[in-house]
């Protein structure tokens, strides 16, 4: 080459090697709350895989004599100071005047705890049988209630763990369905443009102007009570996505329209790329990060909706255990006053939703540092 280019051929000492995804990850890592959200979310989803093992008791194990058993505290040392993790059973006292029961820890009822103990039998993921639990009373016939028991003496902690599987995944299922609808309709809207786009946009605006919960209640009420649990699960996720796709469709359309005008898409066309190659190699990778962020932000809404519907008794129903179903136990002041620990699944809902919101926020900021 001539010396023009030779002099201009700067030797950049440090040309950064990192890819776009690496840069997004770098930006994400700066978002502390997002990172916390990521770890908590991962932890919860990991738990949903191992609920049978993590839960000290079975989901349906009940014991009427433990009805409304209050939470027990873990003691690590015995009275004589030796190390022996245990909980104490309660002595039940009946107050005949008020008709209420009171529970007093009984130092003689020592329930020793250990790891990897035998307990209720289960089939892990419905496939592999087992009876070992990560943590629990060493003697299989003894019971431990770390956050108390409900009116049938079922362990709230175990049921909350079991419920996470349904509640966390129904959000995913609903979002997955919404995503399919959203990408299809939003993509169509953005790709066709013109009149089709106008019609679809008006339709989305219309759907978004409808109050969702009355419609959800209406749709959910249409599911007959005798429908089998698995079917109900899918029907509910369909109900959630019927209204949930609109937001995703808007994002997809917006990104699509913006990308369509980018010079690099023009360049790809001129390179001779086919429509599908432009879509999948040049467009899609450039909005996956946005979609992931929007999807993450959509899951909590679905979880909250499922919880609410189930609480009202028109979503999932017992014997299915979801957080909403568990919260049904608090129907009135009496049950709250007797057993405030029944709020525990609610606390977990809040934590899960918070984690997902933090994660989604962090992802969105990382994917799009200039927009909010």
């Amino acid at each position: 080459m001539t010396d023009t280019t030779a002099t201009a051929a700067m030797q950049p000492t440090q040309i950064e090697r990192r890819s776009q995804s690496a840069l997004i990850w770098k930006r994400f890592k700066r978002h502390k709350l997002g990172l916390i959200g990521l770890w908590v979310t991962l932890f919860i989803y990991l738990c949903t895989l191992f609920v049978e093992i993590l839960a000290p008791q079975g989901a349906t194990a009940y014991s009427t004599k433990h009805a409304y058993y209050p939470p027990q505290r873990i003691h690590f040392f015995t009275e004589n100071g030796s190390f022996k993790p245990h909980v104490l059973g309660y002595k039940v006292k009946f107050d005949y005047d008020t008709g209420s029961r009171s529970f007093i820890p009984d130092p003689r009822k020592v329930i020793a705890l250990g790891f990897w103990v035998k307990g209720d039998k289960y089939k892990w993921l419905g496939l592999i049988p087992g009876d070992r639990h990560l943590f629990g009373p060493i003697k299989p016939r003894e019971k431990m209630f770390l956050v108390g028991a409900d009116r049938l003496g079922r362990d709230v902690l175990s049921r909350t763990i079991y419920a996470s599987r349904i509640s966390m995944t129904i959000g995913l299922a609903g979002v997955a369905l919404s995503l399919v609808l959203g990408i299809a309709i939003g993509g169509l809207s953005g790709y066709m443009g013109g009149f089709t786009d106008q019609i679809i946009q008006r339709f989305i605006e219309f759907l978004q102007s409808l109050p969702s919960i009355p419609l959800w209640i209406g749709l959910a009420a249409a599911i007959p009570a005798e429908t089998p649990p698995l079917e109900t699960y899918f029907l509910i996720s369909i109900v959630l996505s019927v209204l949930g796709w609109t937001g995703l469709a808007r994002v997809v359309r917006g990104r699509f329209l913006a990308l369509k005008e980018e010079d690099f898409i023009r360049a790809a066309t001129l390179d001779g790329c086919s429509t599908s190659r432009i879509l999948f190699r040049h467009m899609l990778p450039n909005f996956t990060s946005h979609i992931i962020a929007v999807v993450t932000l959509a899951i909590p809404g679905m979880i909250l909706a499922e919880t609410a519907l189930s609480y009202l008794g028109i979503g999932l129903r017992a014997p299915v255990v979801s957080w909403g179903v568990l919260l049904q136990e608090i129907q009135n002041i009496r049950s709250m006053a007797t057993a405030p620990w029944l709020f525990f699944p609610g606390l977990i809902v809040v934590i899960a939703v918070l984690a997902l919101n933090f994660l989604g926020d962090g992802l969105r900021d990382a994917a799009d540092p200039h927009e909010h």
């Binding site: 969702s212 009355p214 919260l327 809040v350």
Partner: protein
Amino acid sequence: MGRFILNRMLWVIPTMIAISIVAFAIITLPPGDYVDRYAAVLAAQGDYMDDVRKEQMREQYGLDRPWPVQYVNWISDAVLHGDYGWSFEQERPVSEVIWERLSLTAILSLSTLFFTWIVAIPIGIYSAVRKYSLTDYLFTTLGFVGLALPNFLLALALMYITYLISGEAAGGLLSPQYLDAPWTLGKCVDLLKHIWIPILVLGTAGTASIIRTIRANLLDELRKPYVLTARAKGVPEARALMKYPVRHAMNPFVSGLNDIFVNIISGETIVAIVLGLQTTGPLLYQALRAEDSFLAATLIMFLGILGMIGTLFSDILLAWLDPRIRRQFTRLGKAG
């Protein structure tokens, strides 16, 4: 401006028709109808209803016809005579049942909306201007938690807390003696006594989201060149802040207003059921469970219309605030 409103109003009629169709379609979704359910109830009491009687009953309420016909009959009666059909459960015309409930819903939703504004706008502005301050972190955290709390859980928690404090069960929007009574001063006072818990419950999520929107918008706007222009002109800082960035940040907030209003209406349904408010929520819930179809359809339709009015209101407000939208229509008006 007039042209804009006119243009916007043109959308109202098709939207209302669409809402009524959606409402009616939903209540026809469940298998069977009220007659089946009624028969089942009778059967449980040991009374047997034969097919002839069922058909007679269906004919009486028009339930034997295909649903589009039912819909047309229902909507034309509704529009022409204000007759929304018969409530099987309540054994009264629907129109007699709904108005008190609807007006309470509207009052509650609107008060909640104003409550969220009054609380959220100043906090949002403060958070943006003093970003990364302790107060900002506090409100941001509260905002996140507010968004993560399910309405009904918050309602339950507040009920529990008031119970712990006062030993009484809170609930309802009116004391029983004022239900279906004419609006007197006493009734208003009674309403005010009860309304704060539902407002707090309903307003939390909206407040949290408004704080977040305003804060984010304002942070964006503060970087815009016209803020610099204003400061370079010697406009005092506080005044420049209010006149330019805050005003600009209001636009996305106003256009997102309908979402918040619709969410309030939406959340009201569930909170009302939990707190036992005498609004549309429990009525709708009951009607849907009992397949009291005309009542349910009417309620869903009116909630939809309430949401639509919110959207209309926010659109007009936006046009009033933003000359770009206003002028777009005047110019088109001149051109056309």
